[in-house]
């Protein structure tokens, strides 16, 4: 059965690599984008099941990406988890209002992040509901 695909959007290549290792170990496929512009094009090409989005990005920050996703018929239904170093007090509400499903401040607890990913993904992958 096909694995759920997660798009990781972050300008830090090391962090993308780390998330990729973590997510693959939990039976998710990953694709990546390093800026706001390519985030949209990769999302269109790859149709991910979920997006993990940084806020501080070159070529259109996380808020621009959220807005573009919301305004796109094909992409607006993809759940977005924001993972950012920015302050939750001034960004959490704002990102959720802009359409994000959840907000995590870096460094986030791996188990909490995975819990939310599991809960957020549509239950189309019964085999992956509880990764080993």
């Amino acid at each position: 059965m096909e694995k759920p695909k997660i798009l990781i959007v972050d300008d830090d290549p090391d962090l993308r690599r780390a998330l990729k290792i973590r997510l693959r170990a939990n039976h998710y496929d990953t694709v990546q984008a390093s800026d706001g512009y390519s985030a949209i094009s990769v999302a269109q090409k790859e149709s991910p099941n979920l997006i993990i989005l940084d806020l501080g990005l070159p070529a259109g920050d996380g808020y621009v990406v959220l807005e573009r996703l919301q305004n796109s018929d094909s992409l607006s239904s993809i759940p977005v988890i924001v993972l950012t170093a920015r302050d939750p007090q001034s960004n959490e509400q704002k990102t959720l209002q802009a359409g994000a499903t959840a907000f995590f401040q870096k460094p986030a607890d791996n188990n909490e992040l995975l819990d939310v990913i599991r809960a957020t993904l549509p239950n189309a992958w019964p085999g992956t509901a509880m990764p080993s």
Partner: protein, 542 residues
């Protein structure tokens, strides 16, 4: 001040004095405009229309006397320099005025034009200096806040990377780890957590200083919170062989506080206690009521450590204070923990202090307000000295779907509460504090001074607002209902306090029943009809 003229507002009711001052003004400086009024209210109105360069103020006017006069002028236009025209016999009052922000005073009767001119010019200059200083202080504070928030953001990025790869190694995702390697990696991870806590404290302290910390008080059982803090710290205590004990006063009722923030304070105090207590010592966490202060709960964390000297005691709640004689000064923190704790406690309306003697341990104590529904309700249910005609208790129940994640659901509840607060009239309705810790299903109660007919409109508004923006789509369901609160018949002579108490008790009873009856899960007939209520009836417990 425009076109080089000095605009003088002269507030003086004695025509003779006014004329004399006016004469002296004209004698001295030709570029002076004088506007003379004889009542304070006229003076304040003129200041509101166009701020003068300087105010010359007599303190005894037909509509205001003494200290009140200059206080009202300073309140209205804090940036305008004020010079008092005092009588021979009230120089003492004029001196007092100087301490409260008045620039200078002149004694009527022996004012020369030179003196008047100089006093006014200096007053204007000094006021301008104060303004500049104040502005530069604000800019500096703002700059410091921006700098700190920028730095802590930049520090988080590499820290995240370290955290990620250490946990990847520890979880064996990059191959097997032998016990010695695991031991070293655990040390790295502990340091990562320390660094993360320091960055968090740095931001918190900055926020505290600029008044940007938010608290979300609810009614909480303080005992549960103490237990939670104890269980979170028990591992740390065990590792250092320090005992952790609890003493809870059974009489404690609900407390009105933000559970996350108070947990933060308790953990900070317990953590400090463990840090400064040698192995085989112990820590006692207590919550109790003090007869002399029945509106507060007293919480304390006592350790058997080496105690604090008087100099340290005076400074311990200051920002960046670190004990120079600490035996355990290994990367313990930034010295912000107690400063933040103090800010948090004070935001709740409590106070925090320490009692200690060198060699005899320390006891940190703080107070929190006891929750009183009557106090909270009184402005809403009493109007112009009478009970309102009708009061309705509106119940908003949020029930999560089993698939909803805890984090997302917490957000939905939070957003719902914020939207709910915007649905009510501030002066007529009150959203009651939520009882207990954020749990699975959330029930919000609104005491509204309205009748059932208008409650229906209110419920419609609440439903629309919450459904529109709180994010229920895939996370849970919403039910809104209402019931009338039976009001005590206001017999003559019953003190208002007792009536309010009776209503508060009634609402508590209704609210408790509402909270006790579990939200009905969706059944085969679809949603439990949102907005159902029985007009005029009371909620019946199941």
């Amino acid at each position: 001040m425009n076109n080089g003229h000095t605009h003088v507002l002269l507030i003086e009711d004695n025509p003779g004095d006014a004329d004399l001052v006016r004469l002296r003004l004209v004698e001295g400086d030709s570029a002076v405009n004088v506007n003379c009024v004889n009542r304070l209210s006229d003076g304040l109105a003129s200041m509101a229309k166009e701020p003068p360069s300087v105010v010359l103020l007599d303190l005894n006017l037909p509509d205001s006397h003494g200290a009140d006069t200059f206080r009202r002028v300073l309140d209205r236009a804090p940036g305008v320099p004020v010079v008092i025209l005092s009588g021979q016999d009230d120089e003492a009052l004029a001196m007092k005025a100087l301490h409260q922000g008045v620039q200078d005073y002149l004694v009527k009767g022996d004012i020369t034009s030179n003196q008047l001119e100089r006093v006014m010019r200096y007053a204007i200059e000094r006021q301008a200096l104060i303004r500049t200083l104040e502005m530069s202080r604000k800019q500096q504070l703002e700059f410091k806040n921006q700098f700190l928030s920028h730095v802590s953001h930049e520090l988080r990025t590499p820290l995240t990377c370290i955290h990620q790869f250490v946990t990847i190694l520890l979880d064996g995702l990059a191959g097997e780890v032998n016990p010695e390697q695991r031991y070293h990696l655990d040390t790295v991870l502990t340091s990562v957590h320390q660094l993360r806590a320091m960055i968090r404290d740095l931001l918190e302290a900055t926020r505290a200083e600029s008044g940007k910390i938010r608290i979300e008080p609810r009614c909480i059982t303080i005992g549960d919170l103490v237990q939670q803090a104890i269980s979170m710290m028990s591992q740390t205590a065990k590792e250092k062989r320090v005992g952790l004990e609890v003493g809870l006063d059974a009489r404690i009722q609900l407390v009105y506080a933000d559970p996350d923030r108070i947990l933060q304070v308790l953990i900070n105090l317990i953590d400090n206690g463990i840090k400064f207590t040698p192995p085989d010592g112990s820590i006692m966490v207590k919550a109790c009521i003090v007869e002399a202060d029945p509106n507060m709960v007293y919480l304390s964390v006592a350790d058997t450590g080496r105690g604090i000297g008087p100099e340290a005691k005076a400074l311990i709640f200051e920002r960046l204070y670190q004990d120079p004689n600490s035996i355990d000064n290994s990367r313990s923190g930034l010295g912000l923990g107690l400063f933040i704790a103090k800010e948090l406690v004070e935001l709740h309306g409590g106070r925090i202090w320490v009692a200690s003697e060198v060699g005899n341990g320390s006891t940190f104590s703080f107070t929190l307000p006891i929750y009183s529904l009557a106090k909270l309700l009184s402005p809403v249910i009493v109007y112009e000295g009478h009970l309102r005609d009708a009061i309705v208790l509106v119940k908003v129940e949020l029930t999560p779907l089993p698939s909803a994640s805890r984090g997302v659901w917490k957000e939905v509840c939070q957003r719902s509460l914020e939207r709910l607060r915007r649905c009510v009239y501030l002066d007529k309705d009150v959203v009651l504090p939520i009882t207990g810790n954020a749990g699975v299903g959330e029930t919000f109660l609104v005491a509204a001074s309205t009748d059932m007919e208008r409650a229906e409109i209110m419920m419609k508004r609440i439903r629309e607002q919450l459904e529109a923006g709180a994010g229920f789509k895939s996370t849970g369901s919403l039910k809104v209902s209402a019931s009338a609160v039976q009001l005590p018949s206001a017999q003559d002579g019953t003190p208002m306090k007792d009536l309010v108490q009776a209503v508060a008790e009634r609402i508590t009873e209704m609210g408790t029943l509402a909270l006790a009856s579990k939200p009905v899960p969706e059944n085969a007939n679809g949603h439990a009809s949102a907005g159902e209520y029985q007009a005029g009836n009371e909620i019946k417990s199941n």
